[in-house]
């Protein structure tokens, strides 16, 4: 009976372990969209914005020269078009940078790869020998995850501080696990969601 009890306990424990709840299943499940705004910023007093035709993905500094690296046009253009459409749907007018826009919209994207190392000594039960033993050498595992981040900021170029920087009035950060398939749809979904949850940008 005691053995039965112990077996039952182990069985239940095994069942528990095997059905520990799941989580993220698809790359898309990791997508999050974060937006925030400056507390007292009055978006309704603005109506025009300017934005670049490119999306910065990296900055290279060589011998004191700063070079921007841009996203390939085939990916960047649909994203930029979508950002513009969302702004226009909210009643904003896109103007050239030379036309003194009320707001500047700056899109950027980054990719980051993190590498995780772990290692452990796997144990084995010495069935014919007393006690426990250790395998040697230890197992090493290395795993990497690559995440993509899209950042859009809206700032007022007229409200600059003493060193010519303007505070961000609106910030959008979209983040997710990169699948390696350059999925523009996921970025556009994040952009759409950012506007959907930022109704204070709606001038209509």
């Amino acid at each position: 009976m005691k053995t039965l009890n112990r077996l039952l306990f182990l069985l239940v424990l095994g069942l528990l372990g095997s059905c520990y709840p799941g989580g993220v299943q698809f790359y898309e499940d990791t997508d999050i969209v974060y937006t925030t705004r400056k507390d007292d910023f009055d978006f309704n007093s603005k109506s025009t914005f300017a934005m670049p035709d490119k999306i910065v993905i990296d900055v290279e500094i060589k011998n004191g020269d700063t070079t921007y690296i841009y996203m390939e046009d085939r990916f960047a253009q649909p994203i930029l078009q979508n950002i513009q459409t969302n702004m226009q749907n909210f009643g904003w007018t896109r103007v050239e940078i030379s036309q003194n826009p009320n707001m500047l919209l700056t899109p950027s994207a980054t990719k980051s790869t993190s590498v995780y190392y772990s290692y452990w000594y796997d144990w084995w039960y010495g069935g014919f020998y007393p006690g426990w033993g250790w395998y040697y050498p230890p197992y090493f595992t290395v795993s990497t995850i690559t995440t993509g981040t899209v950042i859009i900021t809206l700032s007022d170029p007229n409200g600059t501080n003493i060193v010519g920087e303007s505070e961000t009035a609106w910030l959008m950060v979209g983040n997710g696990l990169l699948s390696g398939s350059n999925n523009v749809d996921r970025v556009n979904k994040a952009v759409d969601q950012a506007f959907e949850q930022s109704t204070y940008l709606d001038l209509n």
């Binding site: 009976m1 239940v12 528990l16 709840p21 969209v33 995850i145």
Partner: protein, 198 residues
């Protein structure tokens, strides 16, 4: 010789009988139904749980011992937007709560010696609660080690000299502590196998 054997068998039977009535060790499959704050956080019932109860019978109708269990609550929240002041964040959420009470317990048996033996009881002790919210690639964790109280009702049904099955309903209360301000309560339905021995 035959007489001696019969007497010996009789004595053994008495001893065994006494032994079988001295303690109850119950291993249960536990289903958790969240209520209150825990229910608001995770509304789904938990089908991942295990409980262990031990009672030393100080009287035929009174058992004292301990109660330990582990219930895992989980819910996948669909894509949604969560707003706090100027900040909004959208995404899918995966919510987990692990609850592990470890308590002193006492039960009162209404029909000791009967095959069908209902009982009422209560347990007092500590509960470790861990709450984790996964969103995107991030995880927020909160935990608490709190004071807990668990009243229960149930019954034992004897299936052999040494074993019984048990069905019990427990109301697990873990009062606000640590990172969790509100009580984390749930009803658990425990279906158990009882070993009646030393």
């Amino acid at each position: 010789m035959k007489k001696t054997l019969i007497i010996a068998a009789f004595v053994m039977a008495c001893v065994w009988n006494n032994l079988s009535a001295q303690s109850l060790s119950t291993t249960s499959y536990s289903i958790g139904i969240p209520t209150g704050d825990l229910g608001e956080y995770i509304s789904s019932a938990s089908f991942r749980g295990i409980a262990f109860d031990y009672r030393k019978l100080v009287k035929p109708n009174l058992g004292v011992g301990f109660y330990a269990s582990w219930n895992v609550f989980y819910e996948e929240k669909p894509y949604d937007t969560y707003t706090l002041r100027n900040n909004s964040i959208s995404g899918k959420q995966y919510r987990y709560t692990n609850s592990a009470p470890l308590m002193f317990a006492t039960d009162y048996y209404l029909k000791p010696g009967n095959d069908f033996n209902p009982f009422i009881g209560a347990a007092v002790g500590g509960v470790y609660t861990q709450r984790a919210t996964d969103m995107g690639l991030y995880r927020w964790e909160e935990d608490a080690f709190s004071f807990g109280l668990t009243p229960q009702i149930g019954f034992l049904y004897k299936v052999s000299t040494f074993s019984a099955i048990s069905i019990a309903a427990k109301y697990n209360m873990a009062f606000g502590a640590g990172d969790l301000d509100a009580s984390q309560n749930y009803v658990s339905i425990n279906l158990g196998y009882v070993f009646m021995g030393n």
